[in-house]
């Protein structure tokens, strides 16, 4: 899956309005990056749209860092 990390970093950066290079991949979305629950839902929906996949709601709670988000996405991207 080449480029997934970078694509998701860019997609997350756009939604949370940060420079892609400023996001520490292990920084906590909520505590460190000011992400709220609606932004998390937008991230989930944007990943679904980009990769034409469906990620169940239960996974939303796991989107806590960029690395975690990438890991969740990779579970569903074929």
């Amino acid at each position: 899956m080449p480029g997934v990390e970078e694509d998701i970093r860019n997609l997350v950066a756009t939604i949370i309005e940060k420079d892609p290079n400023e996001i520490n991949p292990d920084a906590n979305f909520f505590k460190d990056l000011g992400v709220d629950s609606m932004m998390a839902l937008e991230i989930l929906a944007a990943i679904e749209k980009k990769y034409k996949i469906s990620i169940p709601e239960e996974k939303l709670a796991q989107l806590t860092t960029l690395n975690q988000t990438i890991a969740v996405a990779k579970e569903f991207i074929k």
Binding site: M39, L41, E42
Partner: protein, 142 residues
């Protein structure tokens, strides 16, 4: 079809802020088509604008948001009722044509993603099959 009584069982909004008069189609969690009849008697036309009545774009968004609540409700009635608090998260809407007194606003809402605590939807508003606004809304439910 849902009449105004049935709509008020779903939506928490009331006069003078109920922006949906009728729901023509309600496909559970998939699609809502709603109607807002725009009358010269609307209070806001007195100020928007004097002698030149145009429906405020912000209220077209409100009509879209209210139709979206009906979609959310239809997706999972268990987590939605007219006592819930619905809060818009983001609004990305483009306005294409003005809406005047006498127009019938037809609003179509389709989901991008619905979860138990919120939703992202695509919204389209038309008058006589002509697009007047379209975009994307997200909202949370408490």
């Amino acid at each position: 079809m849902l009449n105004i009584e049935e709509i008020q069982n779903i939506l928490p909004q009331r006069y003078p802020f109920l922006m949906i008069d009728r729901i023509l189609e309600l496909e559970e969690g998939k699609k809502v088509v709603a109607v807002k009849n725009v009358s010269i008697n609307e209070d806001f036309f007195g100020g928007h604008f004097p002698g030149n009545p145009v429906m405020p774009g912000a209220l077209i968004i409100e009509a879209m948001a209210q139709a979206s609540i009906a979609l959310f409700y239809s997706a999972d009635k268990a987590v939605s009722d007219n006592k819930k608090l619905y809060l818009l998260g983001t609004v990305k809407v483009r306005f294409l044509n003005p809406v005047f007194p006498g127009d019938q606003l037809k609003i179509t809402i389709e989901p991008v993603k619905i979860i138990s605590t919120g939703a992202i939807v695509n919204a389209l508003a038309e008058v006589n099959s002509k697009e007047v606004a379209r975009g994307e809304l997200s909202f949370s439910v408490k």
